[in-house]
Amino acid sequence: MPSIPSCPALASAYWYPFAIDLIRETIARLACCHTASGVLDALQHALGSLFPPAHVGICLLQDDACFDLLCSHPATAQPQLSRLTDALIESGHFARALRNIPGRAVFLPDAGGLLQALATPRQIYGMVLIVHSPLADEHMGALGVLLDLAAMQLERFDPETKTCSEPHDLVPQSMGSPTTRDRLTGLTDRIQFIHFLHAATATSKSDKPVAVLILHLDALHRINQEFGHELGDQLLRDIALRIETVAHSHFLHETLGISEFDICIARIGSNEFGIVLSQIARSHKLTDTIAYLQNHLSEGFRENHSNLYPSISIGAALCTDERTPVLELLRNADTALKHAAEGGRNQFAVYRSAWEDSASLHVQAESMLHEALRKNHFKLHYQPLIKLGEHRLIGAEALLRMPGTDGPLSHPGYFIPLAERTGQIVEISEWVLRMICRQLRRWTAIIPSPFHVSYNLSAIDLHRLDLVPQLRRILLEEKIPPRLIHIEITETTVARDEQRAIDNIRALKHAGFEVWLDDFGTGFASLKLIKQFPLSGIKLDREFIKDLTQSDTEDAIAESVLEITRKMRLPVIAEGIETEAQHRFLLRHGCDFGQGYYLGRPVSPDKFDAQLARVKAKRDPGSV
């Protein structure tokens, strides 16, 4: 640390060389400062040397627009300087000094001193007060230089004035001067966070990359509901303080090899925090520091005499290429966050481009599902359901298709689970049911005998509290009685919350729907389910049918299942009947209903119409 020279006799020939020395020393000192308090310290030292007998007070402008006296030199003068500061604010001297920006002092004849703003042309940082000193004009130049230097250094730490080197569309132009702090936590807000990220990525190099972390408080909504918003707010504040402590810790700085002003911490959503770490010298240590951060957050919080252990997931993305757009970086961090959340409580993940293939497929599919709903790209195909003994058409199963798309996306086994994850399944289900109803209206006009359509209900739907009222409303609007709709559920759809599922199944049956257990025999708890759930019947999985009549074991299993269900008086539909032999076997062993390529493939409604017409023509040859 360079030592500040002491002031020689005033107004002597030594004055200017001394002032220049002092300024040079101060520049060197300021360059080593990493904090605002460091800057104030350096400034205080310099001013103390410039005006040795004087009292020097430095006030900083706080977020609430008040000036707080933070430095007093000598320390014993603190009470006196504090009183004087209050008086000078009251008397309007502060206001006058602020009007004098840039860089001119206001003299205080009564107090025998001066007041000068600590400011750059962009931003006011504080006020410097010097009392009881023989003040000569020639000092003013040196004073001005010192204050300018300090203010410029403060500006370097200030995220508000960090310049953005590229224009971007995230901040609306009309915002003017955006609020830069989140009121609740005191952290930077989202807009400023993006600003910082832009600046950081624009200057990043591959050997000193930028990392973005997104922290998600998983249970804020539930905490607010159970404990009240006040406690939820307190929790957010505490999380913010813990994040700040860790982000400014020796461990994090040393491990990553970064300095304090390469970090920006923000609240970027109601239950989300963001951290930008720039100029990372040791990026391979990123996971160590995230684990360290998570350690501090996962130990739980004591709020209002309750111990809370909320789960906080962290997703991170590293940017090694300055050409990576900020939005992409944020999206990557968000993808990592989802991965982390899927891994369980208090997990973190760092984005890997290897995920990209499946991830981009997901994003593509998500927007495709949206398009398909909007533009009516979904189609329903119908597969005949046959009463085996009489070989009579009694209904059809509706199957969702997305024609006109290629590749894996078009496969229901892919896009339905995806729609369940994105929540789009709810909209899709409603569309499916309405289409079925409209189809049924046409078909019931053609076929006089009872004819129903079955469809698969998703797990999301089965656990909705308003499932039954919702279905009834649709049927009422479409003028279709519930008994024509058969709902198929699977063991996996039930598993999420069995009680809720049972309640809904009871309500569905009560409302007049039939409920079938699909894919019977593939899970582990099937028999238990049959016992517990008020089912209309079961659909025997194609796995049991596939090898029928080719293996004695398979035959025995199918026989015993049919035996059990017969004793329980549960009707059975055999799925996936593909050969005549299978058909005969099932017929012989008393299986009631069947479905499969041998009996009829899934076809478009038009083709199904044509088949119906043929059935009808066979039944009463006189018509048509």
Binding site: L70, R237, F251, E254, R302
Partner: protein, 283 residues
């Protein structure tokens, strides 16, 4: 609120484990064999495991050679065993309680760092009992832990006010609660019947007593506290580096050239010792 208010409630805090009191009895008995102490510690497997981990950490410099409690006691030495047991018991007692804005982990990081830096200073100045300085440093802010647990709301306000730069933590504590963590810390250590030297350090580590009354250990902890706060090794809540008391600095006999090696020693051992005390067992 009066100072006595929070101090009267110290019995609401979790108490030190029974094994600690049994161990103290044996330690205080000059005729008791080392094996007796080893058996008492081994009767509490979690304490024994913790103790072995700490004994094997870089802090004691035996580099993983301590296989049994008996051996740990022999190698660490009888003088230091007491401190090792106190540190392990105190940290284990509070380790798993959740706090508010200051995480328990970050509190102990600060305390352990201060302990290690205090010991490094004492060794640098060739004091007789560097272990005393270590434990004194480790316990210097313990009053704040009691305040976080007993008055979470008020301490939340204090932290917020401090973050808004309204003053040093201990001044805000006095404003809100009528006493600060040095008062509470002293009373708590007295309540636990720990030796007076630790009580004194907790009471005077901010240098807010007449210079002549600062004990050598308090002076060392005062300087160590400033160093680890300045380096931001953990945090017990404060964001400001406390003011260096000139008298305390002079009493330590340190010169600024000494600081580099003290910081190096602290940085080198800190992570491992923290992990030994705080992290779940990996075996």
């Amino acid at each position: 609120m009066t100072p006595s208010n929070i101090i009267d409630r110290l019995d609401e805090l979790p108490s030190l484990p029974a094994v600690y009191h049994r161990a103290r009895q044996v330690i205080d008995d000059p005729h008791a064999p080392l094996q007796a102490l080893a058996e008492i510690i081994e009767s509490e497997p979690s304490l024994a495991a913790r103790l072995l981990r700490v004994a094997n950490s870089a802090f004691y410099g035996f580099s993983g050679n301590v296989g049994s409690i008996h051996r740990a006691l022999t190698m660490v030495g009888t003088d230091d065993v007491n401190d090792l047991i106190i540190a392990t018991c105190v940290i284990s007692t509070f380790r798993d309680l959740p706090l508010g804005a200051v995480s328990m982990r970050s509190f102990w990081e600060h305390s352990i760092a201060c302990g290690i830096a205090s010991r490094a200073i004492a060794r640098r100045k060739s004091w007789d009992q560097p272990e005393i300085c270590y434990l004194a440093g480790l316990l210097h802010d313990i009053g704040r832990l009691a305040m976080y647990i007993l008055e979470p709301q008020v301490m939340g306000d204090v932290l917020l006010a401090h973050r808004e730069r309204r003053g040093h933590m201990w001044i805000l504590e006095q404003q809100q609660l009528g006493c600060d963590h040095s008062d509470v810390g002293m009373e708590l250590l007295k309540f636990w019947k720990l030796p007076r030297v630790f009580q004194n350090v907790a009471a005077s580590h901010h240098g807010a007593v007449p210079a002549a009354a600062i004990s050598p250990a308090a002076a060392v902890v005062h300087v160590a506290d400033i160093m680890v706060n300045g380096l931001r090794m953990g945090s017990s809540g404060t964001r400001w580096v406390p003011r260096l008391d000139d008298a305390a600095w002079e009493q330590t006999g340190l010169s600024s050239e000494d600081l580099g090696s003290i910081v190096d020693t602290t940085v080198d051992t800190l992570d491992e010792v923290i992990s030994a005390f705080l992290d779940p067992y990996t075996e």
